[in-house]
Amino acid sequence: MTIRTPIYMDNNATTPCDPRVVQAMLPYFTENFGNAASRNHAFGWKGEEAVEKARGQIATLIGANSPKEIIFTSGATESDNLAIKGVARFLKTKGNHIITCLTEHKAVLDPCKRLEKEGFEVTYLPTNNEGQVDPEDLKRAITDKTILVSIMLANNEVGTVQRMEEIGAITRDRGVFLHCDAVQGVGRMDFDVERMNIDLASMSGHKMYGPKGVGALYVRRSKPRVRLAAEMDGGGHERGMRSGTLNVTGIVGMGAAAQIFIDEGEKDIQHTRSLRDRLRKKLWDNLDEIFLNGSDDPWRHPGNLNVSFAFVEGEAMMMAIKEVAVSSGSACTSASLEPSYVLRSLGVDEELAHTSIRFGLGRFNTEEEVDYVADLVIEQVHRLRELSPLYEMHKEGIDLKSIQWEAH
């Protein structure tokens, strides 16, 4: 079988739409184009019916008690902003303390930073070197001023899965709302807002084989009821929490993506995980001095393999395997010239952070692709190490940490 390049292995950045999702969406561009808020004609009713079906599918996917607990948004960044700022501003007379974690996505960290400017206090919990928050640290951080805890389900860079059940038990016990940025996990792995005692959860269509430009926020309606201040004012859509004409096509697509995972999730997880493990085994069998970033099963995202190839800079590696789409935590791939803050938070040495590559396996990858990518990576790591003075010094037994480097 011939391999078609480029090969997409960056499924933590975005996923392709499942063709079944696209099929479900198509009629809503043309014949069923009605505004879901048009209450007095058939076009509007069709739109509303489709939105409510999708709401139900997403509620089922995450184990919510009611479809009414699903609010549609433009994507996970909006969901994170609405959850964090919305809860904080609604509850500001009750308390001003928020707890989150250093390795959260910027869509969580930046709203927290904005709230700090408005007078809120934020605690950023550290993680262990595998990227997990210690539930005991969370317990100690909660005060009588704490109103919200925001912890992600799975990390986008290193794939570490947090102990949400333990975390949810603590926040429920202490009467604090728990928001979960579940973007990397929903529709890709196990997630249940009831079992995990989650009160708000952010989701994104395009991270679960649905379309871009659509997301959702789960907002618990009872025991406890979560209320939040809207960010967007207008027509009062989505029970006043998010005004704006609904993106019916996108919502239909996200619902269809949810339904596929409800029906086939187990198989999907198995497929993705087996590809990840196949890639991992081939790399580890053939290369020395490579390091896994993040955690291991059951605390690892089934599709994420983040590897540091010591002595090989990440951007050079990406150029060497340019027919394969991956990501790197190297500074050279970011505008900031700093290596990944997530890897740094895990305590990964800066020199190893510069050598990290994130492989994101997904539903549409194949074993043939994995084998091709593994062979290519192995060949190119060997080539680039031949070019690397650090590898030569390492082979000569020189301790690189003993050298007085001139930082520039």
């Binding site: 951007e315 010239l337 690397s388 930082a407």
Partner: protein, 130 residues
């Protein structure tokens, strides 16, 4: 990032990769950059003590594609030049030749530093008492 064809060519087929005997009095070694910054260049020159001409130049680089290409180009340019001429090489010439984007200019600076550092090392050895 969109790179020039010349840069990609140097990255894919780097010239003068290798190691010279750093113990030799005729060899100067420059090691610049730091692993924590994501760039380390080692550039070595073998100089004819009579003519001061760089007869051979080798490099190894840990760094991004631009860093590898910059050091490859630098070795190509300084071979056959006197150490005086090589020492006058400016990073801006590398920037121009490889059409480096602004965020990659430091790669060319590192290459210039590596040349200067190799020359300094050679001179130090030559001036050292036998």
């Amino acid at each position: 990032m969109a790179y020039s064809e010349k840069l990609i060519e140097h990255y894919e087929k780097p010239r003068n990769v290798g190691t010279l005997d750093k113990a030799s009095a005729e060899v100067g070694t420059g090691l610049v950059g730091a692993p924590a910054c994501g760039d380390v260049m080692r550039l070595q020159i073998k100089v004819n003590p009579e003519t001061q001409v760089i007869e051979d130049a080798k490099f190894k680089t840990f760094g991004c594609g631009s860093a590898i290409a910059s050091s490859s180009l630098a070795t190509e340019w300084i071979r056959g030049k006197t150490i005086e001429e090589a020492g006058a090489l400016k990073n801006t010439a590398i920037v121009e030749e490889l059409n480096l984007p602004p965020v990659k200019i430091h790669c060319s600076v590192l290459a210039e530093d590596a040349i200067k550092s190799a020359i300094a090392d050679y001179r130090k050895k030559q001036n050292a008492p036998e």
